[in-house]
């Protein structure tokens, strides 16, 4: 359990590093080292906290609670050969709620500063979450119908690849991009006030809380990559080592995919974002339809 926790915590900051590296390669640059986020986190951890006079203790507590919630969600997921550290009947619901709690804490901490700008970021984040969460829940519902179970451990062991798995993969990849504020939905590197969503919310955080937010974001990316890989790829029949290798390869593939999407696509205009999110929702919905009709069609 402790070992698994350590693996989740230590591996998470690697993913944004890989994405940045892929983007740099596509653009023909050398790019920052893959370990950059570790250095950043270490640097932030040693710094002090600057607080506005307007904030309540919730401003500091928000990122901490969000970080713990995402970590809790991570512990509910099975990873390759290893079963989930925490598993019980109905933990899929807790998974969704923990992610929602993390979002609530980040946005309420943003609203807490009283800055109109961060309020705007929080408003955008939660309004996109309306469709994004619906898409995630539909995907989990499809998995649940497919495997007749509401426990993540058995839900994330799909019987075989098919049309439903392809739809689910596409839909979940869309959700992953949206939930982690990646390029067609949001640009993590931008600092233009018109285009920011997530960045706008964390502007007033500094020091260790900011480190918690950054680490939480990378952890969330890892959680969604594992969810995507586990939901689509059948790995029950493989030996533990092969399954672990397959999971690692899948996560790497997802990460490189995100990097390629970011290099090749431009950020969408705001009014087009709901359309794209609805598309991922519908992809998951059709995966649900395939799962529902699967037996009889």
């Amino acid at each position: 359990m402790i070992l698994r926790l350590a693996v989740w915590l230590l591996l998470a900051p690697l993913l944004p590093g890989i994405i940045t590296k892929v983007k740099a390669w596509v653009a023909g640059r050398r790019g920052p080292p893959v370990w950059q986020l570790y250095y950043d986190l270490f640097k932030l951890w040693r710094k002090g906290v600057v607080l506005s006079t307007a904030v309540s203790p919730g401003h500091v507590a928000g990122p901490a609670v969000a970080w713990v919630a995402i970590l809790g969600a991570a512990l509910l997921l099975p990873a390759g050969p290893a079963l989930a550290p925490l598993a019980f009947r109905g933990d899929a619901l807790l998974f969704v709620y923990l992610l929602a709690l993390a979002r609530f804490c980040t946005s309420s901490a943003a609203l807490d500063t009283g800055s109109a700008f961060e309020g705007m970021g929080a408003a955008r984040e939660v309004s996109y979450a309306v469709i994004g969460e619906a898409a995630l829940i539909t995907a989990l519902l499809a998995l649940s119908v497919q495997t007749h179970s509401i426990s993540l451990t058995s839900m994330l062991a799909p019987p075989a690849a098919g049309a439903g798995a392809a739809l689910l993969a596409a839909g979940l990849f869309g959700v992953l991009l949206a939930e982690n504020c990646r390029v067609p939905f949001d640009d993590p590197t931008t600092h233009l006030e018109l285009t920011m969503i997530h960045e706008a919310m964390v502007l007033d955080h500094s020091g260790p809380p900011l480190a918690a937010i950054l680490h939480g974001a990378s952890l969330k990316l890892l959680v969604f990559s594992v969810l995507l890989a586990q939901a689509v790829m059948p790995m029950e029949s493989l030996s533990p080592l092969a399954a672990a290798g397959e999971l690692g390869a899948a996560i790497l593939l997802v990460t490189v995919g995100v990097g390629l999407v970011e290099s090749l696509l431009a950020r969408l205009a705001f009014r087009r974002v709901p359309l794209l999110l609805t598309t991922s929702f519908l992809l998951n919905l059709f995966a649900l339809l395939v799962a529902w009709k699967g037996g009889r069609l």
Partner: protein, 213 residues
């Protein structure tokens, strides 16, 4: 066999939604053309042994729906200097949701219909219903004449999909007649578009509702 068939019909159903969601006229035309070509392949999959008549129908359908009609539409687009934005009367997200719920409804409805045993497992009937509804949505929900033509094409694709149920009993002449009708219809609509363009300096069909001398 049925799996490949269902895969193609599923692709055609996906193209319905693509046509409903795309905001540019060329991509709507492309979606309709691609759908026509996919449907053109289907007769070859349904028939177990190759018949030359079915082959002729397939080639004819692919040529007319995949190349001739889109070419005519693109030419009209260039000649009339239409700007490429689709003007939705029903927004993209609502029409996408309507199309998706129609698709799900069609699949649910297809399960309850008393079909022949050999059609029971295929997506032919649900796909046809979903495509017809998507065509209607495009016809009703878009203001530009070209996107209405695309809606009409998709509507016809849906009817063609339904006709595939009877492929053995429909003579070649009927198929050829339908294709000819379709081409003539697109010609006529092209001429009408040209007239609308000359008269009103726009292809927005909303302008047609105001009477004048």
């Amino acid at each position: 066999m049925t799996n490949a068939l269902n895969l193609f019909i599923g692709l055609a159903m996906g193209l319905n939604l693509l046509a409903l969601a795309s905001s540019r006229l060329p991509s709507v035309i492309r979606a309709a053309a691609l759908q026509g070509m996919i449907l053109g392949i289907l007769p070859l999959l349904i028939e177990n042994h190759f018949q030359w008549m079915v082959g002729v129908v397939a080639v004819g359908t692919i040529t007319v729906k995949g190349f001739v009609i889109p070419h005519l539409l693109r030419r009209a687009l260039r000649a009339a200097n239409i700007d490429r934005e689709v003007k939705p009367l029903i927004g993209f997200v609502p029409s996408l949701l309507l199309g998706a719920s129609a698709t799900i409804g069609a699949v649910a409805l297809g399960g309850t219909l008393p079909l022949l045993p050999e059609h029971a497992g295929s997506l032919l009937v649900p796909g046809s219903f979903a495509t017809v509804v998507a065509g209607f949505l495009l016809l009703m929900g878009r203001a530009k004449a070209i996107s209405q033509v695309c809606g009409y094409l998709i509507l016809e694709n849906g009817i063609y999909l339904f006709g595939l149920l009877l492929i053995n009993s429909t003579p070649l002449l009927v198929e050829a007649g339908i294709l000819l009708d379709l081409t003539v219809a697109v010609f006529v609509i092209g001429i009408i578009m040209d007239r609308i363009q000359k008269e009103f300096d726009t292809l927005d069909t909303n302008k047609l509702t105001s009477l004048r001398e």
